[in-house]
């Protein structure tokens, strides 16, 4: 036993913990739970923890994965509860196991979203929104480290569904998690750029499940 994987949720208030802060939060959770973490060698040792798909601030997740390494065997069945007893609100560990696949095998993410519309009723948006995400081409401009680029959302956003709620709509879809990485915010940017009248006044997302390239649940 050396490499281990934890599946955890990051919801509610914890959604606002940044990726960088989360690394520290998690490290401290391990320390409080007296988990024998393995550290890197060298002058400034750091715990060997990595979060498979970093989450942007404000987005919730029910399906985060985190790889870490331990110095000696531990009771992996008992670990999630032990960690939960010393975790902040909204961070909840679900299971711990020895991973069989590398995180690079992750391809798709199922997400849910809340689209609030202040001035129109959700019902009137459902059809045009469905039509929008059925377009053959949805080129969205985005800023990357390498400057401005265009990403084709069609094909990288699948199975778009939505239903009206009191404040607007609840949406569901599957997005490409890696190669290319589709940040859920790109859905909003696409609307803003291509069909501004459909852009919600507020949107909030939550990751629900992770899949491999064949849409098999990834663990």
């Amino acid at each position: 036993m050396d490499k281990l994987r934890l599946r955890f949720e990051k919801t509610g208030k914890a959604a606002y913990i940044s990726h960088l802060d989360l690394m520290r939060v998690v490290q401290r959770i391990f320390l409080r739970a007296e988990t024998p973490l393995r550290y890197s060698e060298g002058f400034n040792p750091h715990a060997l923890i990595s979060i498979c798909l970093p989450l942007s601030v404000g987005t919730e997740s029910l399906c985060e994965l985190m790889d870490f390494r331990v110095k000696r065997d531990i009771d992996i069945a008992a670990l999630p509860e032990k960690l939960n007893s010393t975790s902040p609100e909204g961070i909840r560990f679900l299971e711990c196991y020895e991973p069989e696949r590398k995180a690079s095998g992750i391809k798709w993410l199922r997400i849910e979203g809340r689209f609030d519309y202040d001035h129109v009723s959700g019902e009137n948006i459902v059809q045009p929104l469905l039509a929008f995400f059925r377009r053959e081409s949805i080129p969205v401009k985005r800023r990357t480290k390498r400057g401005e680029g265009v990403l084709e959302l069609a094909g990288n956003v699948r199975d778009f569904e939505c239903e009206p709620t009191q404040d607007g709509l609840r949406i569901k879809c599957v997005i490409s998690a890696q190669e290319p990485t589709v940040n859920p915010d790109l859905l909003i940017h696409a609307l803003e750029q291509l069909s501004p009248e459909l852009k919600p006044d507020f949107a909030k997302f939550r990751r629900v499940e992770i899949y491999d390239a064949d849409m098999g649940v990834f663990r």
């Binding site: 606002y16 913990i17 940044s18 609100e89």
Partner: protein, 612 residues
């Protein structure tokens, strides 16, 4: 979560500081508790959560099962703006409820530059700023913290102020308030009763009377006002509550580490230092307590860094024992221990090497003044030999950076003293040349100066601050005197120090100017991002307050001072004696060599000696 908040959070910097939900945050059922208090800290989360006093009082008050104390910090500018735009009231982190629904607001005011932020928080909470504009008993608005040792500048806004350490008095005030509320007392009746609690100052029971020249004729006692309000202390630090299971922030704060308190008070008696006087008498923890509380805190927080806190750590009698005990636990677990506020004179190199095994960056010393004469004036018992010796050991031990802190504008300072700072830095550089085993790495010697601010309850409380232009002249003189390449000189601008000087020794009229400055947009003035000198000057002007009257004017020894009703434990006659000795450049022994009978011991129970 509040819908407006949900919309705001993605658009502000560091949203995690506005959500609460951290580990060890205290949640109670609001329908079950009898009293709700908002503990308000007039600065951002990262500063407030680093404050030991706040953590202690949060724990103490929440130890009362039927009182729920929640945290409120000042939002950073972007958040404050967004909240105002969306008509969101200031809320407490634990429940998310608006502060205006609480029974009591308690502000912790540690520094004067936070005054405007206090007003801003009241305004953001939708609560009238002035005590007189809040006729009802609820909400009670009070303050504590070091700044309250001159309560007058904030007197118009506070219903009451507590002096000294809050562990006991805060709860006493809350319980009395609870009774008053349940029995339907008027606010005035409550305040009259509260004024009987030791450590409670009720501003509305005192009336300032001024002379024609603007000085105070008296702080008149109105019916029911005690002649003197004496601060409170905790006499036994071993048995008092200590937060060993504190909130663990989920986002980075300024001092993200475990605090281990060693003792309160200071044996030294540096004459410029307010803390050295207002925190007397000296009370230490047993080393066992220090070790136990340290280990418990590290264990409960998972922190990788602990720091030993006090005004002058090297004066802790049991320092080696406490350090050994903690290090035995910390070292195998890779927890680092740091020890700030060491003195140059009895600095133990062996200890430092053990503590700072990994990081061997810079060391910091505060000689405060450049010549022995001036160091004698301020009773800073550091000789040049002490300092140079310490530097020698440090350089030999591999350190290659030293920061030296000084003040300009100390009483009796001459140009010779200013140039003395450059000489001292040059000597430190010389010592480096002599002693460094590895000269290729070079050396960084940094000299910093700030403008001296005379503070209430210190022997220099009667002194004039130097003018800003005089400070700048001395800065230029020093800058021109520093010739060595390896010596860097940083000076703090005097504008903030000037405002701080006005606020710290201000009277009630200064309160008007604080409000005027806030109305012109002042908040978070301790941050250079937000500090605006002109705004202050305009505010003084608008209120007819002459800032020089407060900052740069020397007071006569018999002048009635705004804080004359406050007894911080040290007799005024001792402060005067120290002032006179300062002018004679005469040292006073520290408390260990000889007790000066300053008066602070009388705050301890009979038979308990100061400094054990």
């Amino acid at each position: 979560m509040d819908k407006r908040l949900e919309r705001i959070l993605p658009n502000v910097q560091k949203p995690a500081r506005y959500t609460g939900g951290e580990l060890n945050e205290i949640i109670k059922d609001k329908s079950e508790v009898k009293l709700r208090m908002a503990f308000c800290f007039p600065d951002v989360y990262e500063i407030g959560m680093s404050n030991l006093g706040m953590r202690i009082l949060y724990g103490v008050i929440n130890n009362e099962p039927d009182i729920w104390c929640e945290r409120v910090f000042a939002p950073w500018g972007d958040m404050a703006e967004a909240m105002r735009e969306n008509k969101m009231l200031l809320y407490a982190l634990e429940s998310g409820d608006p502060v205006s629904e609480f029974d009591v607001l308690g502000f912790s005011i540690g520094y004067e530059m936070a005054y405007c932020t206090v007003l801003d928080m009241l305004d953001m909470a939708g609560i009238p700023l002035r005590s007189a504009d809040r006729p009802g008993l609820t909400p009670l608005v009070f303050a504590g913290g070091t700044s309250c040792c001159n309560p007058e500048p904030m007197a118009p806004f506070m219903d009451l102020m507590v002096l000294g350490e809050g562990e006991e008095v805060d709860v006493e005030v809350l319980r009395l308030f609870q009774r008053a509320r349940d029995e339907g007392w008027s606010k005035h009746d409550f305040l009259l009763e509260a004024a009987k609690i030791q450590g409670v100052y009720v501003p509305s029971l005192y009336e300032p009377v001024y002379n024609a020249d603007g000085t105070l004729a008296e702080m008149r006692c109105l019916p029911g006002a005690p002649e003197k309000v004496t601060k409170r202390i905790i006499s036994d630090l071993d048995s008092v509550y200590y937060p060993t299971n504190p909130i663990v922030p989920s986002t980075e704060i300024v001092h993200d580490r475990v605090n281990v308190e060693l003792f309160r008070g200071c044996v030294r008696g540096c004459r410029f230092c307010q803390a050295g006087y207002v925190y007397r008498p000296i009370r230490a923890k047993k080393p066992e307590t220090v070790i136990r509380q340290g280990i418990e805190s590290i264990r409960n927080t998972g922190s990788q860094e602990a720091t030993l806190l006090s005004l002058s750590s090297s004066d802790y009698r049991h320092l080696p024992e406490a350090c050994d005990g903690l290090l035995d636990w910390c070292e195998p677990r890779n927890v680092s221990l740091s020890l700030p506020s060491l003195r140059a004179d009895n600095f133990s190199m062996e200890l430092m090497s053990r503590l700072q095994k990994v990081r061997r960056g810079g060391l910091t010393f505060a000689p405060e003044a450049g010549t022995q004469r001036l160091r004698d004036v301020i009773n800073k018992n550091v000789t040049e030999d002490d300092l140079l010796n310490t530097c020698r050991i440090a350089f030999e031990g591999g350190w290659n950076g030293i920061k030296l802190y000084f003040m300009l504008g100390l009483p009796t300072e001459t140009d010779e003293d200013v140039v003395g700072i450059a000489d001292l830095a040059a000597q430190v550089l010389h010592v480096w040349r002599e002693s460094s085993p590895n000269k290729q790495r070079g050396v960084r010697i940094t000299v910093s100066t700030s403008c001296f601010v005379p503070k209430p309850h210190s022997p220099f409380q009667w002194e004039a601050q130097v003018t800003r232009s005089e400070y700048k002249r001395r800065v230029n003189l020093l800058r021109d005197s520093i010739t060595a390449k390896n010596v860097t000189y940083n000076w703090h601008d005097p504008d903030t120090s000037f405002i701080e000087a006005v606020l710290s020794r201000g009277d009630r009229r200064v309160g008007d100017a604080i409000e005027a400055a806030w109305r012109r947009g002042a908040r978070m003035e301790a941050w250079s991002d937000y500090f605006n000198f002109k705004r202050w000057m305009d505010a003084f002007d608008e209120c007819g307050v002459d800032p020089d009257f407060y900052a740069t004017r020397e007071r006569s020894e018999d002048e009635v001072l705004p804080w004359c009703r406050i007894d911080m434990g040290v007799r005024t006659s001792l402060l005067l004696r120290e002032k006179h000795r300062a002018y004679a450049a005469e040292l006073s022994p520290d408390c260990r060599v000889a007790c000066s009978a300053c008066g602070a011991q009388s705050l301890l129970p009979k038979g308990v000696k100061c400094d054990g």
